[in-house]
Amino acid sequence: MPSEQEIFEHLKGVLVELFEIDAAKITPQAHLYQDLDIDSIDAIDLMLKLKDYTGTKMQPEEFKNVRTVGDVVDAVRNLVSS
């Protein structure tokens, strides 16, 4: 099972690749919508991309409460461990 740090690093790579976000801005506290300029369509793309990583589909409800990069890491960890 990947560690929290590994998940974070993977997510960082995905955010840079999909959305060309400046890697320096990506911290666990960074807010997806306010700090990283991700919108609802991007969030769907991100969920699809993370499905390749977790192997299971993330439910939209699980993503609803996600606000920060750290929240995404937690959501991915829950999926991988369950």
Binding site: E17, L18, F19, E20, D39, S40, I41, D42, I44, D45
Partner: protein
């Protein structure tokens, strides 16, 4: 010693202010009352006479266009506003995504007054309004439901050869703040692979802006300028490394660059 002309000018400008204040109030009243009356008479009549859905949509949109033209003519005649348009004929090509910056309340009225037929996105709340719900359904206007479905609805209209009007800011510009475009319009254009037609809108002196009540009118009638620009092909933005999320960002940046001079030209004086 005061020159006499100044003595005369002061009361005249007060009369002018009062006239435009009344004219603006009258315009608002006419718009509201007119919308209800037409929704109860002309639009149902058109619906009764046009059972074919596409024909009904086309006729209702044309009726909206004509009533908006009448409304703009009335506001101009009252001396409340004035306006000019460059490149109007460019709006008439079918199947293009019309995008405009949105400094004032009546931008949509002016653009529809220029286009005999155009699809629009309207607030979902309007589909629950007892007077307006049927006209917006008959006009084939698209409700702003959840983003994925909305983009697909819009792309479908464009692929069918209809033009669609979108304000990428999502709401009116906040005066004095930098333009903030959402990427939904770009997403629609990329999904439909259509031509994007930018319309730069400026208003000077500004009136009918966001957070400003209708009765706060400028010292002179507001003058609107609408410039219909060169089209942008959505296809030119595809194939960017990083996929369509990056393409949407690039296209949105291009739109922001096109709109910037018009947003800057808006001023209170």
């Amino acid at each position: 010693m005061n020159p006499p002309s100044l003595v005369v000018a002061a009361p005249r400008s007060r009369v002018d202010h009062l006239w435009r204040l009344l004219g603006t109030g009258l315009s608002f009243a006419c718009f509201g009352i007119g919308a209800v009356l037409i929704s109860l008479t002309l639009f149902p009549l058109i619906r009764l006479l046009s059972w074919n859905k596409a024909r009904c949509r086309s006729r209702i949109q044309r009726a909206m266009h004509l009533t908006f033209r009448l409304f703009v003519w009335m506001m101009s005649r009252l001396g409340v506003i004035s306006w000019e348009v460059q490149g109007r004929e460019r709006l008439l090509q079918p199947g293009q995504l019309i995008v405009a910056n949105h400094p004032t309340l009546i931008d949509v009225v002016l653009i529809i007054a220029l286009m005999p037929e155009v699809d629009c996105i309207v607030k979902q709340a309007l589909f629950r309004n007892p007077f307006l719900r049927w006209p917006v359904v008959w006009a084939g206007y698209i409700p702003n439901r959840d983003s994925g479905a909305l983009i697909e609805d819009c792309a479908r209209a464009l692929r069918a050869g209809r033009s669609l009007l979108v304000f990428p800011e999502g709401t009116r510009t906040v005066p004095g703040q930098a333009l903030a475009l959402k990427r939904g319009a770009a997403q629609i254009a990329l999904a439909a692979q259509c031509q994007v037609r930018p319309v730069g809108v400026s208003c000077r002196p500004l009136m009918l802006t966001k957070h400003e009540p209708w009765y706060r009118i400028p010292p002179r009638p507001g003058h609107w300028r609408l410039d219909v620009g060169e089209a942008i092909a959505a296809a030119d933005f595809c194939g960017a490394p990083g996929g369509h999320a990056v393409a949407a960002r690039r296209l949105t940046q291009e739109l922001a660059a096109r709109f910037a001079p018009y947003a800057q030209a808006c001023s209170w004086v």
